[in-house]
Symmetry: D2
Subunit: 479 residues, 4 copies
C-alpha cells in the first residue's frame, strides 16, 4: 500500500490511461466531496492511484490542500481526509499505468509553486514529444521528480507565464509546444481551465450544477454529481472558468479531429456520451455490424462480461438469435487478488469468470468480446465454454485486429506482443480454439459514430494522425 519504491523511476509510466475531473463553485460551496464522487464515476479509467487538490478562491492566494496515494478512490479517501480538503475550486485524477511504473510520486494531480503562485494539473493522454521536451528543459537546468507528462506541461506553462498576462494564455502557448494526446485540467488560485488537444484524442466535457462549473473526462461523472451536461470541450479549445463565468479560446481548433475510437469500443462507460455519440449506442451498433459482417447460425449470443455484453445485445437485436448469459463474473476480484501460482489447480480466469453450464450445454454459442490482445485469455474462455458442453463457439470481436502500438495514451503494447500482428485470422481462430472468428473491419468503424466524425485508427492501421516518434518512445528511458 505504502509502496513508493520506483524502479527506473524516470523511464516508464508514460503510456497511461487516466480520468480527470474539475469543479469551481462560483457561490463558494465546498467541492471536495463532489470531486470524490466524480472520481468514483471515472474509476474505470484508472485504478492505480488517485488524488484531489482543492483551493479556496476567497482564501489566501496559493493555499492548496491536496491528498493523493496509490489505490482506489474508495481506499485512498476517508471521511476525515475529505473533510479537511476545504475549498470551492478543485481538481481530481484517477490513474492507470503499466505494471512496474506505478509509484506514489507519479500520482496526480501535480501540485506546484511557480512564479505566479500555485498550480494544480491533472492530465489524461500521452505526449509524443515528452522525451524531447524533457531533454530540452534539462538542458536549461530543469529537474524532474516524476515521470509523468504533467510535469513537462507544468514547466512549459510556468515558463510561458513569465511573458503572459494570464495563466490561460500560458496554457495556450504551452499547447503550441506539446504534441500528442491530452485532456488537461489546470487549477490556478482563481481559475479552472480545461483544454483538449487539437486532435481531440481524449474526451473532456463541461457541465453545470447551479452556479458551479464542472469539467470531466466523461459525462457519466457529470451525472454522478448531479450536474447537467453543457457541451464537450472542442478539440483544441481552452475553456477558462473564473468568477465571471466561462470563457472559450478556440483559436487552436484547426486540426482534423482524431478521436480515439477505442473510447467508444472499450474504455468509456456506456452511459457516457462523447461529441454527441452515446457510447452505449456505439457498442450496440458494433454488435449489429458484426452480425452483418460475420453471420452464423447459432442458438445463443453471449458477451464476455462486462465489456462484451452491449455488442452481444446488438448482435442479438440484428439477428434475432436470443441474447443470453453464459458467464458469471466475480465482482470481488480486486486489485489485491492473490493470483494462483503455476502449480495450483485454480486459474485466474476461472476464478474471475464461471460458465453457466446449463445455459451453454449442447448449444451453438456466439461469444462477443471487445478485443483480443495476446489471445491467451480468449483461448481459456473458449475452452471453458467447450468444457461446459457448448457444441460450437463462434467468436466475434467488436473491433478490428490490433496490429500497431498506440502512442496516444492507450496501453496497447508493441506489435510483437499482439497476436494479430504475426498471425492470420484463421491462425488466431485455431489458437483460441473457436469454430469461427470474425472481427469488425476498419472500413466499417465510421458507422459506430455519426456521419462525418473523424477518428484515429492507428492501432489497427498504423496510420497515425501525426508522425509517431521513430523509436517507440514508450521504452526510451528504459534503455
Amino acid at each position: 500500500m505504502n509502496q513508493n519504491i520506483f524502479e527506473n523511476e524516470f523511464t516508464d509510466g508514460i503510456h497511461e490511461e487516466c480520468g480527470v475531473f474539475g469543479i469551481y463553485d462560483l457561490d463558494g460551496g465546498e467541492v471536495a466531496s463532489s470531486i470524490y464522487y466524480g472520481l468514483f464515476a471515472l474509476q474505470h479509467r484508472g485504478q492505480e492511484s488517485c488524488g484531489i487538490a482543492v483551493s479556496d478562491t476567497k482564501g489566501p492566494k496559493g493555499k492548496v490542500l491536496a491528498y493523493k496515494d496509490m489505490g482506489l478512490v474508495n481506499e485512498v479517501f476517508t471521511p476525515e481526509t475529505l473533510d479537511k480538503l476545504n475549498g470551492n475550486i478543485g481538481i481530481g485524477h484517477v490513474r492507470y499505468s503499466t505494471a512496474g511504473s506505478s509509484s506514489r510520486e507519479n500520482a496526480q494531480p501535480l501540485v506546484l509553486n511557480y512564479v505566479k503562485g500555485t498550480l494544480g494539473i491533472a492530465h489524461n493522454g500521452n505526449l509524443i514529444n515528452a522525451i524531447e521536451l524533457r531533454k530540452e528543459l534539462e538542458y536549461t537546468g530543469a529537474i524532474f521528480q516524476t515521470t509523468i507528462d504533467s510535469e513537462v506541461i507544468a514547466y512549459h506553462i510556468a515558463r510561458e507565464r513569465l511573458n503572459c498576462g494570464a495563466v490561460e494564455q500560458a496554457v495556450a502557448r504551452a499547447m503550441d509546444k506539446i504534441k500528442g494526446a491530452y485532456s488537461l485540467i489546470v487549477m490556478s488560485p482563481r481559475k479552472l481551465i480545461g483544454a483538449r488537444d487539437p486532435y481531440g484524442f481524449k474526451p473532456l466535457c463541461v457541465g453545470k450544477r447551479d452556479n458551479a462549473y464542472v469539467l470531466a473526462s466523461e459525462t457519466c461523472a457529470l451525472d454522478a454529481v448531479g450536474a447537467e451536461f453543457i457541451r464537450d470541450v472542442l478539440p483544441g479549445e481552452i475553456v477558462t472558468i473564473n468568477s465571471d463565468g466561462i470563457v472559450s479560446d478556440t483559436s487552436r481548433c484547426n486540426q482534423k479531429i482524431s478521436r480515439c475510437i477505442f473510447e467508444y469500443i472499450y474504455f468509456a462507460r456506456p452511459d457516457s456520451t462523447f461529441d454527441g455519440v452515446s457510447v452505449y449506442n456505439s457498442r450496440i451498433m458494433a454488435g449489429r455490424l458484426l452480425a452483418k459482417l460475420h453471420p452464423v447460425e447459432a442458438d445463443l449470443v453471449v458477451g464476455v462480461p462486462e465489456s462484451g455484453n452491449d455488442a452481444a445485445l446488438g448482435y442479438s437485436l440484428e439477428t434475432d438469435i436470443p441474447y443470453g448469459k453464459a458467464f458469471v463474473k466475480n465482482n470481488y476480484v480486486g486489485r489485491t487478488f492473490i493470483k494462483p501460482k503455476q502449480n495450483q489447480r485454480e486459474t485466474s480466469v476461472r476464478i474471475k469468470l464461471n460458465v453457466l453450464k446449463e445455459v451453454v450445454k449442447d448449444k451453438r454459442i456466439i461469444m462477443i468480446d471487445d478485443s483480443i490482445v495476446r489471445g491467451t485469455t480468449s483461448a481459456r474462455i473458449v475452452g471453458m465454454l467447450k468444457a461446459a458442453g457448448a457444441k460450437e463457439v463462434h467468436v466475434r470481436i467488436s473491433s478490428p485486429p490490433f496490429k500497431y502500438p498506440c502512442y496516444f495514451g492507450t496501453d496497447i503494447p508493441s506489435g510483437d506482443q499482439l497476436i494479430a500482428t504475426g498471425h492470420t485470422i484463421e491462425e488466431i481462430r485455431n489458437m483460441i480454439g473457436a469454430d469461427s472468428l470474425g472481427y469488425l473491419e476498419v472500413e466499417t468503424l465510421p458507422e459506430l459514430i455519426d456521419e462525418g466524425m473523424t477518428f484515429c485508427d492507428g492501432c489497427f492501421t498504423g496510420n497515425y494522425p501525426m508522425e509517431p516518434p521513430e523509436d517507440d518512445i514508450r521504452g526510451e528511458y528504459e534503455r
Copy 2:
C-alpha cells in the same frame, strides 16, 4: 479495519447469511489457497468478515492454524498469511450480519479446544432455539465469548462427545438438540464433517478434485477450485470425510424439506445449482412467470442490476419485448464507500447506478427487480427512469411481497419495516411512482424449481416449517 468494538456483544448478529467451505486432501496437499479461492466464489454470501482454519492430518494432533478478520477475502488475506496456513485439511467462512452486530469476535471459523483436542466449526444459518440453548448451557456454567450460533453448536458437540466414540456421532446428537437452519462444516484433527439441517433450509454440496474432497455452500465454489460436483448433502445428512474416504449418515433425513426459496430468487450465484435446480434457470423462469401473470405493452424490458437482469431476460424471452440495458452500475462502490451527507447534491443511488438516457428516452419500460423491502430505493430508481424521459415505468418483482420476518438465516426484518406488510400493492405502486406494479404470486413459486420439491415460503405467508419463537428471538438480547 481493526474495529472490534462490540455493542450489545451478546445480543445481535444472530441472523446472518453466510458461506462455508471445507476441503480435505487425502494425498496431503496444501489446501489454504483452495479455501481462499473457494471463499472468493462465496463472497456474495457475506462481506463483513472471513476466516480460514487449517490442520495437517499427518502432523501433531490438534495443531490448528487460523486467521480471520473483518473485511473481504481480498482484504484479509495476503500471500504471506496464506503461505503460513499449512495443512491438508481446512475450513473457511464468509460472514454477513446486520449493522452493529458485526465484530471481530464473531468472525468464523470458530476454533476451539475440547476434551478430544481441537475443533473448527463454520456455520451458515440460524438456530431458532439458540437463546434457549444458551440459557440451558449457562445454567450449567457455560460461558460465551461470541454471539454466534456456532458457539452453541460447539458446546453441544463437546458435551455429546463425552459419550460418543466418534466426533460425527457427537455432531449427530448435537443435531437432535439444535433447531432451525444450518449448514455446518466441522473440522476435527483427522476428519472433515458436513451436515445439513433436516429441513434443508440452506444448501451444502460435495465435490471432488483428484483425491481431495470439498464441501461448499454453493457449486460455484467447486467450479472455482476445479472440483467436480458429486452431489448435494441431503437435508438431515451427515457426511464424514476421513483418510478412508467419505461416509454418510442419513438417519436424520426424515423431515419434509423446506428449502429457502430466496436462495434461488436472490441469494445464490446464478452459476450455482442446488438440489438439481439451476439458480439461473429459476430466475429465467421467474421472469417468464411474471410475464404471464402481469403482461403489459412496452418497448423494453430491463433489469435492476445485477440481480434483476436474469428475470428480465426471462420476461423478454416470454414476451418478445426486447431485452435492454437501462442502467450502468458502478462496480467500484465498495464497503468503504463514503455515503453522501443529507445536504449534498449527490445521492447514493445515483452514484451506484446511472441511467442510459438515450435507451429509455420516450420508451415504455418494464423494470424487473428481485424484491422491494422498504420501497425507498425502488422509488428513486423509478424516478431516475422518469427523469431520463421514460414514458412509462412498469415494475415487476420476481418474488412475492415480503410480509413476515425470516427466522432461518436471512436478514429479512420484522414486519413494521416491510412496505408490503402495511400497504396494498396499489399503495406501493403509488409510493414508488410506477405506472403499474406486479409481484410474483406465492402459488406460482413451485414453478421456479422442480416438480415435487418443497420449500419454505414463511417470509411471504407467515407459515413457517417449524414454530418460530414466540418473541422475535432476533431482538431478544437487545431488550
Copy 3:
C-alpha cells in the same frame, strides 16, 4: 499487525507477565481515557497486546464495549476508538508472552456472557494447575477458545455463580480451586472486583480519585491517572467496589506470603511501591549490598541501561566510586525493529546500545546489570567496553544467579537455557570476558525489602512456595 495465526493455539502462552487496571467512577464519569493512561504507565509489563472493556452501570445490564488487539497501547487505540468506549466502569490489560504464543485471540480482557449476564476479566500471573483444571472442565463438556488462564478462571466463576448470591462470592470460591499466582480484576455489570492470590506473588493496589476507585498492578498507574494510593490489596483478599463503595473479604488471607522478589529487582517501574516498599529503594539497596559483598577498586560505576542504573547508583553511594554513564541507549528501537541478519556487520546489541568511548577509555569499570540469562548479551556488552578501551570490567549482578524455572508468571526459562545452571561463577565470568563477576546472594535478599516481609526465591533456589507441577507445565501442550 493483523496477525492472528496461532500455532499450537492451545499449547503455549501460559507464562506471561502482564499488567492489569480497573476503574469504577461512582459519579458516572467516563473512564476509558483513564484506563488508556493507566495502561500506558503499565506498558513495561507487557508489549504484545492490550485491551480495554467498559460498561455503563446506569445503562442496560450487560452491555459491554471492548477493544483489543496486538500492539502497544499507543498503536492499538486511536482517539476515535477511545471515544466510542463509553462507560463509567472498566478494565484494561497489557500482555506479554513468549514468542510464538502471542495471538490476537489471547489478548485480554476476556469478555464473556454467562448465566448472570456479562463478565470482563483481566489477569496477571500464572496458574500452576491450569492444565489440570482445563482437563477437568473439558471432561464436563467445556470448550476453550484461548490458551489464557483467564478462561479457566472465568469458567470457575461462572460455575460457582450458579450457587452464589453474588459474583464476588463466586470469585472467592473460584479462588479455592485455582492454584498459583494471580492478580485479578473482574468487572460485572455493577461491580468491580480485585483479587490477589493468597501467596501474594503479583502486586495489586487500590487508589481513589474523587469518587472513583482504581485498581492497578502498580502504583505508578495510580499516579498517571491522578489517583491517590489507598493501600495494597492483601494477598488472598478480595475487594469489591459497588455503588456503595468498597468492601473487603480477607477470609483467604491465611498463607505465608511469597512476593515475587523479581518485581523489585527488575519487573516493576522504580516509581512504584509494593506492600510498603519502594522499588527504587530496593534497587539502590541491591547496589549497596553488591558493593559490600563484592568490593573492587575501580574508577567508575556504570549501569546497563535502563534497569542497571539504579543499582549502579546504590553501588556508587556505598563506595564513593563515582557513578557515570558508559552507554547510550537507542530509545527508538521498538517492536518492529528489523534485526540484522547473520552476515551483516551490524549487531542488535550495538544498534541498541553504544559505548561512550571517552568515558570508559583507560578506566577500570564496574558494570551493574540486573541479571544474566543466557550470557550472550553480557558477553557482547563487556566486549564493547573493552573495545572502547576499558582497562578492567567488573560485572556485578543485582540478583542471585537464575538456576530454576519460574512457574508463577515470569518468563524465566527452564534450566538448560540458563547459564547459571550448568556453570560456576568463575566459568560464567570467563564466558562473558569480565575481569571479575559478583552476584547478589540469596541470603541477602531480605535486605532489599522490609524486615519480616517474605518472598518467593524459587528461581534462585528451586524452593517454591507450592509444589510445582511434576512436568514443566509450560510445555505440556506442546508435546
Copy 4:
C-alpha cells in the same frame, strides 16, 4: 499515516532539524540495511519522516530505488521494503519539522532526474536565502513541488552542471549561491558527495568500514554500522567518493567557523563527537560550570530526563552533592500518543514523567534541565516535585536564556514565544515556582568545547554569523 494533505504547501517546513547518512561500498556490497541502522542512530534528529534512496554503481546509470514516508524508521521500513532497495551506494534522511508543515511530499531524500541522469539529495540545515533563490529560479520558469531547501539546492546543482565537467564542481558552484546552514549528501550514479557549509553550523563526518565509505551527521551513526571514524568534513569542504576512493575540495574553507553550540548542549546524542569534542563531555562540563556559577546548598542533584541527566552528573561531580534520580520517564509515549483533553484529570507531563516521591520527600533538590522555552513544562515539573514533598527546588539550566530566533536549522521560535525574551530571570523563577534559578552564561560557553573553537550563539545574543533576513523568513510564505 497516509496523510499528505499540505496546508500552505509552499510556505513552511523551512526550519527543520534533520539527520543525513550516506554510504558507498566500493566492493559492491548491498548498503540499504546499513542506511537503515544508520538512520536509527540518527532518529533523535528527526521523527516525522524518513527515507532511503539507493543505486547500483555497476548497474544501468541512473536507476535509483527509493522509499520514503511519514513516520519513524521503525514504522516506515519493513524487511520486504529493505530487501527491494538493492544497491551499493545510497543515502538516507530523517526529518523533523514544525507542526503543520510536515507532509509526505517534503520527505527526503529528494530524488530527481536532470540533464546528467539522476541525483539524490539529503540535507540538514536551513538556507537563509532560500526564498530569494526560489523567487529567482521562478523568474526563469522553475517549478517547485516541495517546500524544502533541497529542491532549491537541486536546481542550482542542475543548472551549474550544464557548465561543469563533474557533479562535485556543480555542487561547489551551487555552494557559492546558497547561504546559511547545510550539511549535504548528494548521490549521483557513480559518486557520493558530502558538503558542509563554510560556517560549519551543522556536523558531518566521514567513516570507513572495510572498503565502504560512510558519511553521517553524527559519529554515533558510524558506530551503529560498525564503521570507523576517519574525520569530520571541514566547514566549507566537499568530499567526493568515487570508485577510486575519496577526494577533498577545501577551497571554500575560508570562513570563521560558527558551530551550532546547541548541538553540544541538546541536539546531538551524547555518544557523538564533533570536531574533536565529545558531546557527553560538553554536557558534563556544562553541569560543572553551572555548579561554579550558581552554587546552592542542597541534598540531591537530579536531571530532567533524558537530556538533563548528563549536566546533573557534572554538577554533582563538581559539588559532591549526591546525584540521584527523581523522575521516571515513560519511554512508550510515542508519536501517536493521545493527549489528554482539557477537562481530563490526567496531564501530558504527568503521563510522560513521574516523580520518585520517596527520593525527593523532604529534600532540597537541584534540578537540571537543558533549556526553558515557554516555561510551562518547567512550571509543571517543579510543581510535581513540590507536591511530592521536596522542601526546595533549585532549577539550573545548562544553557543561556533563549532570547532570539534561530535562522540556521533549529526550531527555536521567534522572541514573543520565548519566556526569556520578555522576562527577567527572577520573573521566570517566580513563574516556574522554583526557589532559585540559574542559567549558564554566554561568556562561559567556550569552556564547553576546546580552546579556540568558535561557534554561533545567535539564539542567546542575537549576534548571528551572517546577516539574518530582514523579515523572519521562516514565516514569509505564510503571509
